[in-house]
Subunit: 452 residues, 2 copies
Amino acid sequence: MEIQDNEVHSSLWCGWIRALLERFNANIVEFARETKNLGQEDPRRIIHSLKVGLAITLISLFYYFEPLYDGFGVSAMWAVMTVVSVFELSVGATLSRGVNRAVATFLSATLAFGAHHLAVLSGEESEPVFIGLFVFLIAGMVTFARFFPRMKERYDYGLLIFILTFCLISVSGYRDDEVLDMVYSRISTIVIGGLTAVIVCVGICPVWAGDDLSKLVAANIEKLGVFLEGFGVEVFRLSGEGESRKAASLQGFESIIDTITEEESLANFARWEPGHGPFRIRLPWKQYLKIGSLTRECDCRIESLNGYLSYGIQTPPEIGGKIQELSTKMSTESGKALKELDLAIRTTTAPSSAGIYIIKSKNATENIKSLFNSTLSKDTPPQEIVLATTVISLLVDVVSCTEKIAESVYVLASHARFKSEEHQPERPKSPDEEAPKQGDSIISISHQVITV
Amino acid sequence: MEIQDNEVHSSLWCGWIRALLERFNANIVEFARETKNLGQEDPRRIIHSLKVGLAITLISLFYYFEPLYDGFGVSAMWAVMTVVSVFELSVGATLSRGVNRAVATFLSATLAFGAHHLAVLSGEESEPVFIGLFVFLIAGMVTFARFFPRMKERYDYGLLIFILTFCLISVSGYRDDEVLDMVYSRISTIVIGGLTAVIVCVGICPVWAGDDLSKLVAANIEKLGVFLEGFGVEVFRLSGEGESRKAASLQGFESIIDTITEEESLANFARWEPGHGPFRIRLPWKQYLKIGSLTRECDCRIESLNGYLSYGIQTPPEIGGKIQELSTKMSTESGKALKELDLAIRTTTAPSSAGIYIIKSKNATENIKSLFNSTLSKDTPPQEIVLATTVISLLVDVVSCTEKIAESVYVLASHARFKSEEHQPERPKSPDEEAPKQGDSIISISHQVITV
């Protein structure tokens, strides 16, 4: 009996341990998979981690071997802290935090030294009262300053460091000359730490927030372009067949509205970056933000459009073919224009044929307008064109949004001095490519009001 | 001559100084105005600034009078630093940072103590090599961990503090017992600083991120409701009169897409907050985010709709009056429903009549559908209904979006146990209010597909 009991027990234990090990293994595998994905998605993450490790090790060992001031305490710590809290993925973010930290420390330390001196002058009894008052006033006022939108955007970290430094120095309670020493050591260690972070960040495979911003804006434009190309082909062909047969390019349509957060933070870092790589001057991040916001506006219209893919869209038989041809043209040509703009932003090359595509889609718009005004006979039952009309009206909106995006990209290309088209790799010309009409410049046709 | 020259000089100087003073004065006035606005807009900002001042003064003076450990150095600093960097506007943000900082310091200090011990055991010569290796590995790995979305969302600050503490302790280069002292003093000062911050933050006029999230979501719903009420009245009446006569409620329509950033960060803080005030349980922040995202979807449709306000919208004379009446009803009833939902979220009361409004606007949708299918004769020239059709199709989309929002708010009301309607202040009943049809529950009618 006892042996049997033991056997039961041990088999229960075995099962339990095996289950635990299996779950543990599954977790490890899952974790490894996720880690691999993160690294493969963007190998700069791995490089960044190694860079941070390197910078911190450098500064740590420097102080480990040469404690420049009196022992570990204040000095080494500030340098290590500065590297840890200043080093960010992109150059812009690192510069922004580094400059904020250095300037705030300098200003605040100067002010704190003055305040400390004043408090000491006031006599031993009233000293703590004065110090308490100063700390309260400065902490309160600077905290309030963090609510100013302009300050919050660029100098939030600096303001935090300002409060911190002021409090640390004014409550130190030492004699004046010691405080001066402390001010000096704090500023110099922060400069050393900040420089280490900036040098490693810029020196080894730098990541520019401006490049990421440009890629993100381009990717969003591309998504819309791919959708429109697919939509043009599918929308009227699909009539009545429902969701199941959507083209692959339409299945994956995801809203790009969520990218606004990332775009804004990248633009905020990009403004700190000097000219680099293809950008001989500083990146015109405001123009990128403008393009991003126009793209989201277009995305809004496209989401409305997307809702109509699942309806069976009827067209009156006598002009159905013509409507289909023209609206397909409106959609696909806009799609091509967007893809061309995407390429232009990605390769920082002035867009060459986006204007032609837009003119073609605008011509299709004009044609569909006159089709509705002339060809539609009194015999067309209105019910037959209700949905087609809605889809076409939305398409007209999309075409005009596309045009606005194109205009902004042309402005960007001239601001950021994109390479001109001569240097662009030859693009295979499709046989049905029409020459643009004379005088139909993308800018000149931009303010026409289009009504179906 | 000399006198004249001097006069000219002095008058130039006077002018210059006066101009400078005037500009300075203008800046001061502008700054004062902006400060006043910031304070008036949200008086909690002033209270928060005073709270931060108070907390920092308390902790500073505490250490000023009683330097608990050996001198100023390590100990007082950590407490002050903790208060400065943990204290945020909302309770959730403060708790999140406080808990992150405390837990990360504890875990990291333990690990660093072990690493330091190991390095010392390895002998005097290889000690720096081991320490450098540990620092490099930990800094690199934890930096990489910050890229995991789940970690970034909740524990980013903790991971930063983990690296910081590990480096500071492992490079300290002292003997084991001194390191143990240091670990102890660092942890205890951080706990004291964190507690001070949390107590002041929660104890004096606490600001709950959950409340702000709820207000923001409600305000967005309200904006759409106000627009739809105005739109319903204006859209067909305005025919041909252009932008100039838009109702006031339509002039101010601003996109709510930008609020996504704020919504996400508030939700991220709200998840750290315990139940409070009207929320006997923790705030269902995920449901708020869902409502927010549905509201933005609806906003997208409404922006498309907004574009049609400037067109002159023709309706065929024989059914124009009917179309106008029904589409006005669709729009205004949806608007009323949204305003009711806004009120429900604001007052944490289960919405009472939103369902009725939605049923009314859905009935109007059904009626307009049959109007198009039956009443429109073959004599209606299709051009006349092109724009009206588009506007109505978009309105149908908006009605169905409104319904989705309403459903989510009903789910929220049951999850968050909103007060039931009995406790709600009596709402004046408008004379044209119909009773809902039997069985027309908001949930049961939710999955009908609407086509015009």
